[in-house]
Symmetry: C2
Subunit: 591 residues, 2 copies
Amino acid sequence: MDANKKLGMLRNLMAEYRLDAYVVSNADPHFSEYLPERYRQIRWLTNFSGSNALVLVTNDQALLWTDGRYFVQAEKEIAGSEFKMMKMATPGYPNIYQMIGKLLPEGRRLGVDRAILSQADYEKYEEISNKNGIDLVDDHDLISEIWTDRPEITKNPAYVHDLKFAGKSAQEKIQELRDLLKEAGAQGTIISSLVDVAWLYNIRGTDIANNPVVTAYAYVDQTSANIFIDEEKLSLEILDHFKENGVDYLKYSEVFAKANNLRNMTLLLDKKTSARSIFKVLDDSVKVIDSIDLTTKLKAIKNDLEIKNQKHAYIKDGVALTKFIYWLKHHENIETEDEYTVGEKLEEFRKAQEYYVEPSFDTIAAYKENAAMMHYKASQAGAKKLAREGFLLVDSGGQYYDGTTDTTRTIALGDLSDEEKKDFTLTLKGHMDLMNTVFLQGTTGFALDAICRRPLWLNRSDYKSGTGHGVGFFLGVHEGPQSISPRPGGAALETSMVVTIEPGVYKEGKHGIRTENVAIVVEDEKNLDGQFLSFECMSFVPIDIDAIDPSLLNDQDKKYINDYHKAVYEKISDYLTREEAAWLKEVTRAI
Amino acid sequence: MDANKKLGMLRNLMAEYRLDAYVVSNADPHFSEYLPERYRQIRWLTNFSGSNALVLVTNDQALLWTDGRYFVQAEKEIAGSEFKMMKMATPGYPNIYQMIGKLLPEGRRLGVDRAILSQADYEKYEEISNKNGIDLVDDHDLISEIWTDRPEITKNPAYVHDLKFAGKSAQEKIQELRDLLKEAGAQGTIISSLVDVAWLYNIRGTDIANNPVVTAYAYVDQTSANIFIDEEKLSLEILDHFKENGVDYLKYSEVFAKANNLRNMTLLLDKKTSARSIFKVLDDSVKVIDSIDLTTKLKAIKNDLEIKNQKHAYIKDGVALTKFIYWLKHHENIETEDEYTVGEKLEEFRKAQEYYVEPSFDTIAAYKENAAMMHYKASQAGAKKLAREGFLLVDSGGQYYDGTTDTTRTIALGDLSDEEKKDFTLTLKGHMDLMNTVFLQGTTGFALDAICRRPLWLNRSDYKSGTGHGVGFFLGVHEGPQSISPRPGGAALETSMVVTIEPGVYKEGKHGIRTENVAIVVEDEKNLDGQFLSFECMSFVPIDIDAIDPSLLNDQDKKYINDYHKAVYEKISDYLTREEAAWLKEVTRAI
């Protein structure tokens, strides 16, 4: 069925429900970073497969919003349909709220699906509706009515994330959450975010690719802890686990009855990750504190065993990546490989590692000018062939029971231009300047961001992305509340938080370079000036010294690289073949 | 009359007006950084002379709040009186709003003086009063009733700031303000800030020490421009100047009638720098946009002639400071000098410079451990004697018709410890790292702050102040909206803005070090990554190479210092005696 036919069916339904406009949002009820198949409604409706999308349909308009990463792709994918692309954050293109104000006269009816609309977004539609005298109707899931073979919510089994990995029992975590709730002046909380539910109850699953989460909600107050989950997901083991930890399970859909039955209390809810459908059923006697989920704060601070485990995971991941780079550097027919096949090969190396489950995100293997597109992902068919020249950028990570990894290396496949070497070296300088900095407790990643950019800025170069993000523990590869970014906000960096450091240079039509390691925030000296913190690097993968222009490095830079490479050799070489280890010795030599 | 007697009189008056508590704030009606004598009511009442102070008096309490800079001084100055010191931002000490909530039961009456209370602060008293059922009464200036010899508002003459200095006529500035008002959706604005009024109308005066402002208000809309000013201040020259520029003058006190007569319009007012007394008289048909004064934004961007002029002012100031350092270094009986006398000597050198008017703030000359107190100011009586050892820190600046200067040098008077040299060198590294950085348009000083601290952080050292502030043009030495600070906020740094860069090391009981130059933001390269900006240093004064530990410097650091010193010699030596020039050549030699 093509997009226009689906659109016709959607409009018929809209007419039936007397809706003059209908919004389709690209979300699941848990506002997950990666969507399960059931909630890829925009791809189903429009063919557009990008991650950032929003659709507005009226009787004579079919509009699809997306951002600059996807302009080319979206045009291609919606070609031939009635859908028209709207560019987000681009002059000349109104956003969806402005467009609603423009298209709908007073008295018209705007439909949204409250199940997949966060309360925060709902309030924006409410504001524009009130302002324009539009009726906002939030109770129609039109997509399910026309998408007859819509995938069900997955019934994949959940499993216990063993205490030897998690380091802290669900019971202890629930108690920590209760303490924070008390501090915040809230009696209870409903958690929709799947990574938060999985972390809190020490469970994992396979409902979403790259993200070992379980489709479930949590409710916690001072006396009870509930999980709302489909029974099919539950094994005897997991039932025992819940019992041991004082967790009562209820049906997945019971979360709404639970919310509806709460009375005379203050509930902590994150409006950005909680659906309108939860807010809507709350009794008037329930007061809401809008706050980031307290579990998000708790899980960002890794416990001692998590720290030990994830360090081990980074060693294993470093072994896989080092073997992969060895393989690339020694491949006798590199021309037979392309961006897609090398990703497959890397997956082989990871699969050989203990506790490996799956990639933590779709591997980015981008050759030469393709690497200048920051979110490039090669399709099997369209992948670029490799050759013995230029850079291959590989940004990848693994989900291990004992940690989530994320590392980028830019690898010289052969000769490089002076410009490529210069850009590689300046990227590395920025990376090192931030990784080896010391900072005062209370400092945010926003305040540190410029340290990483400065060596590039001095060369009049900048990268249009953040510098780093938090990383979960066998959960999301992007987890807050901390980040390192030129956009204000973000939490202060605290001891035992994990962040990536990943500056880069991206030159359209030429090359893309990024060097990314993951660091854990550690306590440093405390003196009269305050408590200082610093970063401990956890990633151990050789940085390609073939790509370095040493004339751009000062003595401290060289010392950093040599110390780092010494550590790489010490930590990784034992797990390599004799040939690989000999090569690693050579490529980690002092410069 | 001692403090307790004044307090008694104040309480009698409070009883007469049935006030259960009374607030005395440390402000003038223009919320000036430095207060004219008439508005030093807290010093008059309590003897406390610090700049940050707030008083609350009830029948049985007399409380004085101040901040950490002044704890020791305040205790000393209020000793023997009933006043009790309250430490601002210190655990265990409620702030004034909390204290009001604690001390006043429902139905009691709280008095404030609306003439010296900003609307922003008034709203905080209003909030706590509403919350606690307290009556807030804002129409009693009790201080004037008991301070019988209270100084009048000064009648010092105003004068025209010549176009050859200001670079832009008042008429042009008024037009720019009108354009910004239109953009902001406001029909008019009342400006209370004296530096803003002086800048807008190109007038100056002598009403406040160190700040060449005139006591006046401005009102501007699309068709009229008013100044509210005492007639005694006006000469024929200034009347002509007003006429030429389309400015109508009214009596100083007429500003309230003007505010009261406005109807059916949107008025732009800065709640932080506008008194409650202005807000109170506004008609209900007047809508207020609370915004930083638009003139503050306009005057932060220096015009071409201002830039040329202020560069010249910095050369003159550099000559004065260089001569001063020569004098210090060659003084044969340094033991006869103290922190106070060297400040007097420096003033002599400045006075010899063309267009010099007065210091731009009270000179800080702090010897050895005194320099660890960041806001130390030596009194004539208590000044520390100098000797041929350790550091003398001198932070000073001048008001010239062609610019306002602010420079700090830390000067070795003799032998230094290794620790002193190390701290001096790391301070210099931070200073250089920021001064020679390049950054993307849109970057705030907050985002750059860590660049300056990093070399100190690496040594586990931090300074408890901002890194830099904006500087006015023959006006305030501290002017926003830009700053370089670890506190979020502050405007993006734009081309032709001026900022100081002044990191330091402060070790209690040991030494204090600060190196401060002033820079102007200049356009740098524009390319696909965006418009880059950089700093051009305007201060030219030798940095004491006797105090540098070269082993802590890399090649780029040394190049920076050598290039800077070459420029110092080139720009300053022509204005020195032959002996001074020969010495300058020596102390600006390459290291």
